[in-house]
Symmetry: C2
DNA sequence: GTGAAAGCGCTAACAC
DNA sequence: GTGTTAGCGCTTTCAC
C-alpha cells in the first residue's frame, strides 16, 4: 500500500507525473479542470500519499522543525514543548524533539543531527549556564534557520530570539509582593549570572530598590531540588528569615513551599511565596502559587511564527519580547 | 557550508563517490586502508555531514521514530516522551513527537503525516477511550512498523504492544493498602471500560474480593480535574465515605489529595491515598504519594527496543508486559 | 579495491 | 495545458 507512487497516479489518471505534481502543489503550472479531477480521483482510489522525504530532498525545504530543550520533563519546558508542537502542527509542520540534558556537548550533537535531517528550522531553548563561547559560530555553520526560545541569542550572533519580559516581569512580581506590605523580601534564584532567570532576579532588585527596600536577601541554588529545599530551610530557620520569597522560577517557588511546609511555617501566613513561569504545577500546589508568565500557547505560537519568518526572509528578523501576566493565587497572601 | 556533498569529498580524496559511501557506512565493499584514511581526512577538512534525507530516501530506512501521545503535557506522558526520546537518541534515532489530544481523528492524521515522513517506526500511546473500531486496519495500512505503548494492541491487529502489569499492579497496590487495616477502600478511576486504567481497577477489585472486602465503592470520573475534585469531595462528605482511596492513575490520586485537603480531611490520618504511575508529581505532593509503576527509563527503553525488533523481524514480535514496583511514601499511612 | 551507473520519489525548468 | 527531462544526495549492484 505504501509503495503507491506519483507515477502510478499519473498512469491511472492517464497523464504525466509532472501534472500530478502540478495538481497536488497547485502549481507551478496550471492544469485543466478535468485533468485535475481525474488526477484527484486517481489519488483517491489509489490512496496515494506523497513521500515527504523525496519532496523535501528535491525541493530543499522540509516541513519539520527541530526543537531542543534542556529537559522536556521539567514543567516549564514540558509546556513549551507542548505549545510548540501544537503551533507547528497547526502550521503543517512536524516537530523533532531533542533533550540536551543541560549539556552543551549533547546540545550541539543534537543540533547537528537535526541539521543533518535537513529540518526546516531549529527552535533552541538553551539552558542557563554559559550562553557564551563560540556557540554562535557553531550555530551559524549549521546552515539552518535558528530561533532562540526563552533566552537571548548569543552576542553578535545575528540570530533572532523570542523571550519573555523577564526583567519587567520580575519587577512586577516583586512589586505585587511589596504591595502586600512585606519589607524583608528574599529572592530565590539560580546560580547563572545571565539568562532569563537572572534577568528576573534583576527585576526583583529593581523593584526592591525603587521601594527603598534592601535588595540583598538573595539565595542562589543549583538544579538539585533536594539541596534547594535544604538551603531554603536553612534560610527560613536563620536570623535573616525573609517574610516573603520571590522565586525566579515556579520550580524554585514550589521547593520553597515544600521547605516552608517542612519547617512548620504556614504559607501565606508565616511566609508569602511567588513564582515565575505560569506552569501547571503552580496551579495545583498547596497553597496554589501566585506566578507570572505568558500563556504557553502564545509562547509556542510566536516561536513557530518567528521561525517561519526567519525561514523566508533574508534580512535579520527582529527579536520578540513577550509581556507576562500575573496570576494571583493564595501563596502570596492576597 | 551546508552544501558539501559526498561528491566534494570524493574529489578532494581523489576517489569516487561510491568509495566515500563504503568508508562512511563500513561497507558493503571493502576499502584499502590508505584510501579510507584519505577519505576520512577529506571528510574532516570539508566538515562533510551526510544528508540523512537522501540516505533515507535511497536506502528506504530512516533513523527517525514517530511518537504519538494523547497529551505530552500530562505527567505520565511527559515522562514517557522523555524516556522514549532518551532511549531513541542512545540508539541513534530522532523522535518526531505528536499530540493526538485524545482525539481519534487527530491521532490518525498524525500517524499518516508521520508515515508520509517515512519514519522508521511508530510508537503509539492511545488514549483510553475506544481501542476499538477499524483502528487496526488503518494502522496496518500505514506500511510502517507500529508498537503500541501503554495499552494493548487492538484485537486481531497482529501488532506488538508494551504495557505495564496493570492488573497485577492494581492488585498489589490494593493489597498494600488493605494491609494497613483499612476495610472500606474505594477505587477512584476513569470512565473507560477497557485499557490500562480499567485494568488497574480490575486488579483493585481482585484484591478486595480476595480479602473478603466489598469491591463496590468505585468512583469513575472524566478527564476534567476540577470536576474530578468536586466528585471526590462529594464522595468524602457522603455517607459511604471511604477510609482509603486507591486511584488508578497518579493524577487522580493527586486530585483526591486536593479534595481531601479542601474537605478538611487529613491524609493519611483521615484518609489514605495511593496512586498508579510513579510519576514525578507524586513525589512532590503533600503528603508525598505512595504509588506503583515502572521506572520510565525502562518503559521507554523497552518501547524503543521492541520497535527495533519489529523493524527487523518478519514474524510477529511478542508483547511485553513490564512489572511494576511499589514506591511507599506517606500518603498511604505507612 | 574501485568506479560507473541506475535509481529512491519527487519538483520545476523547459520544451512542445 | 501537458509532457520530458534533469537532477536533489545518497546507496548499491555490477563491471572492471
Amino acid at each position: 500500500m505504501r509503495n503507491v507512487t506519483r507515477q502510478d497516479v499519473a498512469r491511472l489518471a492517464g497523464t504525466s507525473p509532472a501534472v500530478v505534481s502540478y495538481v497536488l502543489n497547485d502549481g507551478p503550472r496550471p492544469v485543466a479542470a478535468d485533468t485535475r479531477s481525474r488526477v484527484l480521483k486517481a489519488v483517491e482510489t489509489l490512496g496515494y500519499r506523497p513521500n515527504q522525504l523525496a519532496r523535501a530532498l528535491r525541493s530543499q525545504r522540509s516541513n519539520t522543525i527541530g526543537l531542543v530543550v534542556p529537559d522536556s520533563s521539567e514543567a516549564f519546558f514540558t509546556e513549551l514543548v507542548h505549545a510548540v508542537e501544537q503551533a507547528a502542527f497547526a502550521d503543517g509542520a512536524l516537530v523533532l524533539l531533542g533533550n540536551s540534558g543541560f549539556d552543551r556537548e549533547r546540545e550541539l550533537r543534537y543540533l547537528e543531527s537535526l541539521a543533518d535531517m535537513q529540518v526546516g528550522g531549529l527552535l533552541l531553548v538553551r539552558s542557563e549556564s554559559g550562553a557564551a563561547k563560540g556557540a554562535g559560530r557553531a550555530l551559524s555553520e549549521l546552515g539552518v534557520p535558528v530561533v532562540h526560545l526563552n533566552h537571548r541569542a548569543p552576542r553578535g550572533a545575528r540570530a533572532t530570539s523570542v523571550v519573555l519580559a523577564n526583567r519587567a516581569g520580575g519587577r512586577t512580581l516583586a512589586e505585587h509582593v511589596i504591595g502586600h506590605g512585606y519589607r524583608r523580601i528574599g529572592c530565590l534564584t539560580g546560580t547563572a549570572s545571565s539568562g532569563p532567570v537572572s534577568d528576573r532576579a534583576r527585576g526583583w532588585a529593581d523593584a526592591m530598590r525603587a521601594a527603598g527596600l534592601d535588595p540583598s536577601p538573595v539565595l542562589r541554588t543549583g538544579l538539585d531540588r533536594r539541596s534547594t529545599r535544604e538551603q531554603v530551610k536553612a534560610w527560613l530557620r536563620g536570623p535573616e528569615r525573609p517574610e516573603a520569597i520571590v522565586a525566579t522560577a515556579d520550580g524554585l517557588a514550589l521547593d520553597a513551599l515544600s521547605a516552608a511546609q517542612e519547617t512548620g511555617l504556614r504559607v501565606p501566613g508565616d511566609l508569602a511565596v511567588a513564582g515565575f513561569g505560569g506552569t501547571e504545577p503552580a496551579a495545583h500546589s498547596w497553597p496554589a502559587l501566585t506566578t507570572i508568565g505568558r500563556p504557553f500557547a502564545d509562547f509556542g505560537r510566536v516561536g513557530v511564527e518567528t521561525l517561519k519568518s526567519v525561514q523566508r526572509q533574508a534580512e535579520r528578523v527582529p527579536d520578540r519580547v513577550l509581556d507576562v501576566e500575573l496570576t494571583v493565587r493564595r501563596s502570596c497572601g492576597c
